[in-house]
């Protein structure tokens, strides 16, 4: 008969792992520790055929437990990490990095820096070349901490400057940190990846020292190089930089256009729409309408009064001028089936009126234009507003009544 049900070392440890997993998921740290203590003897067996061996399991699980367990101290944690570093040479730098992250989370910047320096000086035969990427990360994070030190020195200098002092030593130190930081940060952002924080810091350094050309180059690379993964933040950084550089609207708009394509719900869409509305070019104004409608498709924008006011303003302008009503018609055609229930229900009318008068005003204007004076949202809000004797609601009512035929043309 088969011996499949025989309990052996391997099955016993597998069962142990599943108990640990359950305990971790339920945040039962004591129980997880209890089972992990039983699991660790798996280290004495060689699992080189398995994808994840016991040493990696123990490192990851042990880290979680020690990090969350109420009775575990940072000292214990550090001691454990040091042990883990000796366990698997192929993971050495990864373990170092994770350790550094935990130290940073705990506010131990100096210890983190020490560990990074130590890791940077590690050499181990062919492993050094194999773990080249991790090494770059180690150096990048050290560069980041150098940036933090630089930033601190800079602030000291600025304060002193206000008081009229100027301390040469501080300045020298600051420049020293800059050099160290710049070298490492520059290296890492050459590799394709998501390096938001490194890019930001590097650009900050460059701008301070006046190297705008390099900064622009870096940001363009980060945003437009197809080897890099698509990253909305890259475009945000670029836009912010261009704004700081007081670039013409044209370049600002082109930077934000891509952001609109990638993330139509981005918070910068308000700025984008504002810029576009003011443009003299018809195409731009048309795009602006598209942008604001697209943003309001997202649930996160439903109660954003500013966004609604942008839309309301633009729509009011179009309706008043009676030019380009077809724009509204185009935008509305794909939305008229679901926007009424999504934005303009009677329930929402009541709620918006109660919670945010401005919001309800702007929305009522939009609703009145799109759905006519008979729409529940408009009717409720305008009624409430007039009851409260608020002038602008009376004006609103008049406006919508006056332009009611427009609705018929839009909805047609």
């Amino acid at each position: 008969s088969s011996n499949e049900h025989k309990l052996n070392f391997k099955k016993s440890k597998e069962a142990c792992l599943s108990y640990i997993q359950d305990a971790l998921l339920q945040k039962q740290w004591k129980r997880a520790a209890e089972f992990l203590a039983c699991y660790v003897e798996a280290l004495e067996k060689d699992y080189s055929r398995e994808p994840i061996g016991p040493s990696e399991m123990i490192w990851r699980i042990g880290t979680e437990i020690l990090w969350h367990h109420s009775q575990s101290s940072m000292k214990e944690f550090n001691c454990f990490m040091e042990q883990m570093k000796t366990l698997g040479v192929k993971r050495y730098l990864k373990v170092c990095l994770e350790h550094v992250f935990h130290l940073l989370c705990n506010g131990q910047i100096d210890e983190a820096y020490q560990n990074l320096s130590l890791a940077e000086s590690w050499r181990f035969g062919e492993q050094t070349a194999i773990q080249d990427k991790e090494m770059k990360l180690v150096q990048a994070y050290r560069g980041l901490l150098d940036y933090c030190s630089w930033s601190k020195q800079k602030n000291i200098l600025l304060e002193q400057g206000e008081d009229g002092f100027s301390d040469l030593a501080v300045e020298q130190e600051m420049h020293g940190y800059f050099r160290k930081a710049a070298v490492n940060l520059k290296e890492i952002i050459k590799m394709p990846g998501v390096w938001d924080i490194f890019v930001k810091c590097y650009v900050d350094l460059l701008e301070f020292y006046g190297d705008h050309k390099e900064a622009r180059q870096v940001l363009n690379e980060y945003a437009y190089n197809s080897k890099f993964p698509a990253n909305p933040n890259a475009h945000v950084y670029l836009y912010q930089f261009l704004k700081r550089q007081r670039e013409p609207k044209k370049s600002l708009i082109s930077a934000l256009k891509i952001l609109h394509d990638i993330v139509p719900s981005h918070e910068l869409m308000i700025d984008f729409n504002t810029m576009l509305q003011k443009s003299k070019k018809r195409k731009k104004r048309r795009l602006g309408l598209e942008v604001i409608f697209a943003a309001l498709d997202y649930a996160g924008w439903k109660e954003n009064a500013k966004a609604w006011s942008c839309l309301a303003r633009q729509m009011k302008q179009i309706v008043t001028s009676e030019k380009h009503l077809d724009w509204i018609k185009q935008e509305w055609s794909s939305r008229k089936d679901w926007w009424p229930a999504f934005h303009f229900s009677r329930y929402l009318a009541k709620r918006n009126w109660q919670e945010n008068e401005n919001l309800s005003y702007e929305k009522a204007l939009v609703a009145g234009i799109l759905l006519g004076k008979g729409c529940k949202y408009f009717k409720y809000v305008s009624h409430q507003g007039c009851k409260a004797q608020l002038k602008r609601f009376r004006m609103l009512k008049k406006f919508v009544n006056k332009h009611n035929p427009v609705y018929l043309r839009i909805s047609g």
Binding site: H5, K6, L36, E76, T86
Partner: protein, 574 residues
């Protein structure tokens, strides 16, 4: 060989073996002149025996070790095990008179001792655990990897191989890597006719001795005591004396990483008994603990079933003849009789009785239970009527709790021990470092476990579930009456249930497919599955194992009906 002569003094047939190898009558202690000489060859000493007994060995090792043979190691293991059994209350004769004689007989039969050294077999005292540059590298000798792959894979074979491979990179062609003298020979020799000794087989020896002495310990109990740590098995080698250095292939032999399974130990025991040419074992009679009537009583109690069911189990036992002395007593080498698993047989009888009374088709038993519940309302005198539903709820609750505990324990087993194991001196330091780290981590996380300390070994107990009549919550069913499910017919109490379903219409050929019946949970009623699961937990065997026995009993019980042409496939009317 049968030694079935009646004793001259008391006419009993109840023989044991003295130290000197003579038969003695256990009833009256009359010692005969008949010795084992008739059965086997004389003890011929040879140099190997002298070496073992006189202890004159080559003290050539510079690490303080000395020569030792694998069978010496096993002898030590057996010694430890039988001492543990003595501590559990087994009679002291078992050690010296029974077990050791079995062992010596085995050594002789397998030509490891007490015999002429077989021709052509030379034991080269080869280098041990050292670097191999000075050894004749004989290309015909099997490599280390090959040797490892030959032995039964007890543990994680590939992991050991990778240990070995890291070692054999140094010396691909050397073969002997063992602390013992004959470790490699032990693994390579074609042992088909000689029944090579293994760790599970030590338990077969123990069980065989227990059976000979008819101790009240079943095989499932024995194995449970092993797992609970009352009998040394895992890591027994740490008790070997210092001079017996264990490394290399010895580990393959002595370091087990799995718990032995009932079938394994049981089958081996019978093989062993036949190999040793043992005579008919002492009779298992009605007063014996291992008799089905006795064991049924025990298991009925443990399963919290009414005592009244015992009448029924006895009736079934009698009807199919499994209480007969000749059926129960072991005659080694007799291939025609079915080997009796006393504990499994007893629980299978209980299962059949439950099926007889309650049908267990997921329908009838609940109906009967409701019926009994109704009758219980008007039942003022005597004990309450047994209600299947109540029993099920109570037992299931306890069983779930115990099963959960057991599952957790199994996940928490610690397999390693303090004594370091290494394949060669070369990776000794690595092994020691690892061990140190493991101990550190165990301490670190053990402290974080909170107040839960590893509980002391529970005292060995024959009963895993216990129910007390003193409990007023009605959770003990021993005293309950079966009247609720019986009816009077012509002055006799018979079961109300008129039907029975067979587990299998046709028995499979055990030799071909290993089973008599095939058990799949989904194909059988849940109640049946529950009952099997209960006894499976108590005996620590697979449900299918019990199921096979149930099939066997049913076919014996309904023998006549089965030979008639059956109109219905599975449902019989009694």
């Amino acid at each position: 060989r049968d030694f079935n002569e009646r004793c001259a003094q008391c006419s009993e047939v109840n023989w044991g073996l003295t130290d000197g190898g003579r038969f003695y009558c256990r009833s009256c202690h009359n010692v005969t002149e008949r010795t084992r000489e008739v059965v086997n060859t004389d003890f011929i000493t040879n140099s190997r025996v002298q070496t073992i007994s006189k202890g004159s060995r080559k003290q050539e090792k510079n690490d303080g070790g000395s020569e030792w043979y694998i069978c010496e190691g096993f002898q030590l293991v057996l010694k430890k095990q039988v001492e543990a059994l003595e501590a559990l209350g087994v009679c002291p004769q078992m050690k010296d008179e029974i077990l050791y004689n079995f062992w010596r007989c085995y050594l002789q039969k397998s030509k490891q001792a007490y015999c002429e050294r077989p021709a052509g077999e030379t034991v080269k005292a080869l280098s041990v655990c050292e670097s191999s540059t000075d050894v004749d590298s004989d290309p015909e000798r099997p490599s280390l990897l090959h040797l490892l792959s030959l032995s039964e894979s007890e543990g994680d074979l590939q992991t050991d191989c990778s240990f070995a491979s890291s070692v054999s990179k140094v010396s691909e062609s050397t073969s002997v890597y063992s602390g013992s003298v004959d470790g490699s020979l032990y693994l390579t020799k074609n042992q088909k006719d000689k029944l090579r000794m293994t760790m599970p087989m030590t338990l077969s020896f123990c069980y065989m001795a227990l059976l000979w002495v008819r101790e009240p310990i079943t095989l499932s109990e024995l194995l449970r005591y092993v797992v609970e740590g009352h009998i040394p098995y895992l890591n027994v080698f740490q008790h070997f004396p210092e001079k017996m250095k264990l490394c290399g292939l010895d580990l393959k032999i002595f370091c087990v990483e799995s718990w032995p399974v009932y079938e394994e130990v049981f089958n081996k025991m019978h093989e062993l008994a036949a190999f040793l040419d043992l005579p008919r074992f002492p009779d298992i009679t009605e007063s014996c603990f291992l008799h089905p009537d006795m064991l049924c009583m025990k298991y009925l109690m443990e399963a919290n079933l009414p005592d009244e069911l015992h009448n029924w189990t006895c009736r079934v036992v009698k009807k199919i003849g499994i209480g007969e002395v000749d059926f129960l007593t072991l005659v080694p080498g007799n291939k025609s009789t079915r080997k009796v698993k006393y504990d499994v047989l007893a629980v299978a009888v209980i299962v059949v009785v439950l099926k007889l009374l309650f049908l267990l088709d997921d329908h009838y038993e609940w109906l009967l239970s409701e019926h009994a519940e109704e009758r219980n309302k008007n039942n003022t005198e005597g004990g309450p009527y047994f209600e299947f539903k109540k029993w099920y709820e109570v037992v299931k609750r306890s069983l779930d709790v115990e099963q959960k505990k057991l599952d957790e324990e199994r996940a928490k087993y610690l397999w390693r021990c303090e004594k370091p194991l290494f394949y060669s001196v070369k990776n000794k330091s690595k092994v020691l470092k690892r061990r140190q780290m493991v101990v550190n981590l165990q301490n670190q996380f053990g402290k974080l476990s909170g107040s839960v300390q590893r509980a002391e070994k529970p005292n060995p107990s024959s009963f895993q579930l216990s129910w007390s009549e003193e409990n007023t919550d009605g959770s003990c069913f021993h005293g309950h009456s079966l009247k609720g499910v019986l009816q009077e017919k012509r002055g006799l109490l018979t079961v109300m249930n008129p039907d029975y379903w067979l587990c299998t219409v046709k028995l499979c050929n055990e030799k071909l497919c290993g089973h008599l019946g095939h058990y799949k949970e989904v194909e059988f009623p849940q109640s049946y599955h529950f009952v099997l699961g209960l006894f499976s937990f108590l005996l620590r065997v697979q449900p299918s194992y019990i199921h096979d026995e149930v099939c066997m009993i049913e076919h014996k019980l309904f023998n006549k009906k089965l030979y008639k042409k059956l109109k219905y496939n599975t449902v019989l009317r009694k």
